[in-house]
């Protein structure tokens, strides 16, 4: 079995579109929200990120997803509060969300 076939077998068929849609909504919100980076990320976390079921992700993407989730949990322990968010980490997490969306998109586009 070559690498490409192995990778394609790993794509969950059922919930895949839902995950992609949630990630796309997250990217749209990050890009178009009028607030600061901390506020945009908080809104993304509470509106979209928490709706994604990590078990439906590719194995390769799951570790990245879990890292992002951990950071978001630390930054936003309570809805509506952005005090605990560090700006540098917020930028890094936002970049990781965008990267995750496009890497999943490119994998499925070639599947």
């Amino acid at each position: 079995m070559n690498y490409r076939t192995e990778y394609r077998d790993d794509i969950p068929a059922v919930s895949h579109d839902r995950v992609r849609a949630a990630l796309y909504d997250a990217v749209l919100l990050l890009a178009s929200h009028k607030g600061s980076i901390e506020e945009r990320l908080a809104e993304t976390y509470f509106s979209h990120w928490r709706t994604i079921d990590p078990t439906t992700l590719l194995a390769n993407a799951r570790s990245q997803f879990e890292w992002i989730s951990e950071e978001l949990k630390k930054m936003y322990p309570t809805p509506g509060k952005t005090d605990a968010a560090d700006r540098g980490t917020a930028v890094l997490v936002a970049q990781s969300i965008i990267l995750l969306h496009y890497s999943l998109k490119s994998v499925t586009a070639h599947a």
Binding site: Y24, V27, L28, L30, A31, S32, H33, K34, S36, I37, R40, R87, V91, A94, Q95, I97, I98, Y102, K105, S106, A109
Partner: protein, 154 residues
Amino acid sequence: MHLDKLPERVCSFFPARGRNLLPIVGSVRLPTYVRRVSRASLNANSPAASFSGSGLRPDDKMDATTIRRYLSAAVNTLGADVGTIEQRLRKVYQNELRQLSGNSGLPDPVRTDYEELMADLSGLLEQPGDIDPDRASHLARRVVALNERLINEL
């Protein structure tokens, strides 16, 4: 002298090979023809210096990877940059989107969207005074959508 012969001549100049090569490089004076080639490549009168920005001639097509890189950078700036929606949009308009203007490398359906978006962006950002944040937010969404469409087309 032919440039395609240069690597062999440079390699033959160094007596050491493999892992021993690196420590020696710093202490060796390069032959005259190597230095002359380097200077020529930095010459301000060279043809490459005539083209600013992407380095493309006006009739050159930008390749798909470069187009994708510009649009991905635009989405990344909009999504992960600190600053207001106006600042992010202005940055994206100036640094990324304008680099694609007048370029025929964009696929036809995407080019139409791109041209409409650029017209709307210039209308919003080049007007005097404060800009409408709702309109800016809408245009930011269109930048993301344009990138999605480009990925699907290329």
